[in-house]
Symmetry: D5
Subunit: 149 residues, 10 copies
């Protein structure tokens, strides 16, 4: 009996290691970006029926598990409020160190409002650099102005 | 008597509002990007002597305050571990929802290691869009491989 | 020297008590709803120039304070993550008890996405009832679908 | 052996996914609102005998599970004090940003007291809008004046 | 300039110590119980005009402070979520040790609902006992049944 | 293998639901108050041999479980420092709102010391009231003066 | 204007450093143990009139401060739940490492109940030892049996 | 498969209840104090081979469990930072109320440094008293002076 | 089915105790330092294929477990933000007591930047000392200057 | 009036910036290491009379401030349990990632006990490296075996 989406995430991770799959391959299989696909497989997005069935074959999932992939999950992928993993912590640190800067500059350009984390996309690429390759991340989120009424 | 950098940050913010300055203008004055300049003025970066003196004139700071601008500050710009401000929270949420995804994809591309938050730069731009303009953020951080020994 | 918006909020609250003003009167003075006006005066919204000047006269504020009213504030009006005040706690409790229900029903109706807290309005009214009058709150937030990419 | 209500919640969720049920259908089956019914199925309300038996058939529950549905549960549906799920977080954010406003306006209208979260009902509807449909939530809670003695 | 109720609480406490007043005397002066009066003076209840003026004379308060006594305060009298003071902690401990018991017994007697902390009164008395006097506390709160709808 | 008292609490709760027992009946069976008996069954008190054996028969417990009922448990019946359940939260709220009041009044009557939560008893009754029945709780705790030495 | 006991504690500490007083001398002056006297001066105990007046002379306190010394303070001398100071942390660690042991042994000897922290005394002495002197602490607290009723 | 020491602690506690053993008997069996022995059995100390084998017989442990008794455990015996159990909380309270006092008096006697919690012993005894027996705890920890360099 | 790396860590620890292995032996088997090897076995580093296979033989792991050893783990080896284990706490304490000192001295020598915890190595040795042997730890981390842009 | 050591720390930091002093110079002035001297100036160590007077001249302190430098301070130099400053966080991260490794290796070499953070010294040096200079930190702490008794 499957009682929450995180059980399916565990099945996917377990199968991915056993079969040595890459996230890029998974993304290609369902025809979506590697960022959104990975987030979905890690329990942060809901898949449509076709995507779920393709993933079901790839990860050898039961029909019940495939049904769960189409349910909107309870999101949030970190076990603690402040992440302990060094790679993820650096991102938390960027929010901490640059958070007030991002706020100031978005308000200066757009006025009061936010950058959406829902109408949002992200692209992660390797940036070749003679002094050591870099991770280049492009984020694009719709500006949502605060409504006054 | 100035006893910590945050007092100088308050002086800068107070003067900026009184004089109606823009961060872009401040950045131009010292010849650096608006992102790094704003972070520095908000107490997250240290300035060199020339930069500090230029800022001192712009924000009408005392010599003591100008000296403090050249001291490396205790960093972290948020009053709580989970930020309450909606704009900044969306960034925390991105780390929470996409954190494990970012980790998986960087490891898939680069192996074990992190994206540096120190050898790092950020660029925030308006992205015109007929369905509503977007905030485009490009981040670039050096990949640092975990040393095995 | 004013160094953050919360100082202006204190000035407003202090003057409001001294002069015995009502939030409805304040809202009428700037021609906006009582909900948005109160939130703004409590340091959660930014006012435009005309609104700020009207509030400045009403609350006997200095030009510097009026300038701060036009700056987007660092939002979040509660001193603790779980509010201690009984009236506000009941709202936290509603989120706690009904949060998963709201999630299920919005997803059932709209699919994956959220109800915006930015493109949002609220109306609070007295609802007469022979068994004891009730507080009626109508909230309206744009549905934002999660972008897949 | 069932030892707490959350085990029954898991059975319900598991069966709901397997059978592809909608909360509206569940609500109709027991003749109550979709909001109260969903909250009850998610372990936040107690059902009477008839309701529990109807749910038992719908979700293929054992007699023991049906007995548990009639027990008042330990309430609170969120795994953390500050919810990580974006949809639910927006509600927490509303309490954070508008909490002090709601407090001021209810006190201005009613005096000292609270809006009940017990003698309370909620209605969630789609609100058609050419700029994008909205979620409309109407909440009604009895005003309870603080007793002075 | 008074900017929040807690400043008035401090004035009251300071004057009470200077003049050596007893809470019983304060309560008699405004004709209310010692429990409600003390809670009000400690910033947990709002007073009416007559009460506030009487307290103003007793505690030598300014007109501005008297006005603040009539404003509903932000409630919650403890500096930490788990109180450190031993006397108050014992009450927290009672909630911790007996909380589930109180829940079970109220539900057994009344069904689903709560004991109101708003329509509530409390009486604290000395109970003579040859083995050592006891503190007797009688609490009375209206039962509020959960509304089903 | 039973390794802690909470396992026995779960057995008791499970059997109580299956057999439809009332706490009053349980209390009568061992000849103690319903308050102390319930607290004990919920893992907050230790029973003597006779009581434990009677409970063993009532709840169909093994000899090992009966032995555990006689062991002093690790006390504290709430899963979080601030309880989420609305009924129990109201009690936490009372401590928060009235905590400083209780402290002041006990000190005014008795001097420095505490009301014992160990040499303590509690009685919960229905109080008939035409405006809605009330929960009446009488608590009695020995006053313990702080020793000076 | 003095508004809480901690202000008096600061006056005492400030004067103690200026005058180079020892806690032993302070204790002798009021004829109590050094442990209780120090705790009282640090804001954890209430003094009687004679003691307060003697302390007032010793620490050059105003009459208002002397009055505050006779008020029962809000107790708890540590700024964080887990103390950061290494000396005090070792005591926290002892509770952490030996807490369950102390519980087991007191219950084995006395049955269910606690060691009082109110009817309690403590004596701290130097214990000469050729391998390095030791701190010897003798604590004595009345055993309080849990009341069954 | 045993994967951590706490599993062995559970086996010991389970067997101790089944066989009705006393900690004093366990301590005698291995010829150590009851305080150290109990702490070890509760997973806070490591045993040598002979001790572990004696305990293995007493508690009917497997060879694997006996091997784990000789491994240094991850220490800390409390499930929360602030303990909820009343007996253990009193000790936490002593640290909170008397912590600053202990610090002052040890520094006054010894200078800067700490009382060791490692080179440490404890003795818990019943102290007969006509007004009610007392728990007497003697602690002895080596003073460790802070090294200056 | 293995679903996360920590399951493999448990297998390794369990086998290590059963077979009485030393970390030095493990390190020699894979030809790496004892520090890095231990961290890897405890789930903090990723192994290459050869290392993983050698460890698989040593610890009698399945192929699935060996595959997991080559996956970058979610790092962070402590169950709580402030560690309770005395040995590990001392290190936390060093960060707490000396953290600001380390920051000042690194900035004084190198300017703004950090000592890398990724391009990092550590060596732990026994340092013989007639007054008691010492633990000598040598840490070496690349200095990373903050990028200005 | 100086009421705690942190006020003196602020005076020192303020003067250090005004006069452009280096910690190395300060250390030379009192003839101690730069690590211990800096820690002391930042409020983590107590100075003797001669050291305090030398520092008093260097930092232009009053006699009262000089007296406070000789008082053992309440230690702990970080404003939050998990440090936000990136340089200091890396050290917290090392404890988090390598904490269990350090524990294992010290126990393997020394048996049960800890590395002292009191009988401890630290040396921070620049380590020249063609691939980028490194920070080399040597720590030496006495091993303290757990006493069994």
């Amino acid at each position: 009996m499957i009682t929450c989406r995180s059980q399916v995430t565990e099945m996917i991770l377990s199968c991915k290691v056993r079969k040595g799959l890459k996230w890029r391959q998974v993304a290609e299989a369902i025809g979506m970006s590697k960022e959104w696909t990975t987030a979905g497989c890690l329990g942060q997005m809901a898949f449509d029926k076709t995507q779920a069935e393709t993933l079901g074959k790839l990860f050898e999932l039961s029909d019940e598990a495939i049904a769960w992939l189409q349910i909107v999950p309870y999101k949030g992928s970190l076990p603690t409020a402040v992440p302990t993993d060094p790679l993820i912590y650096r991102w938390y640190e960027l929010v901490n160190v640059y958070g007030s800067t991002i706020k100031e500059l978005i308000h200066e350009e757009f006025g009061d409002g936010i950058m959406s984390a829902i109408d949002f996309s992200m692209d992660i690429q390797r940036e070749a650099d003679p002094k050591g390759d870099r991770v280049k991340v492009v984020m694009s989120g719709k500006f949502l102005p605060y409504k006054s009424y």
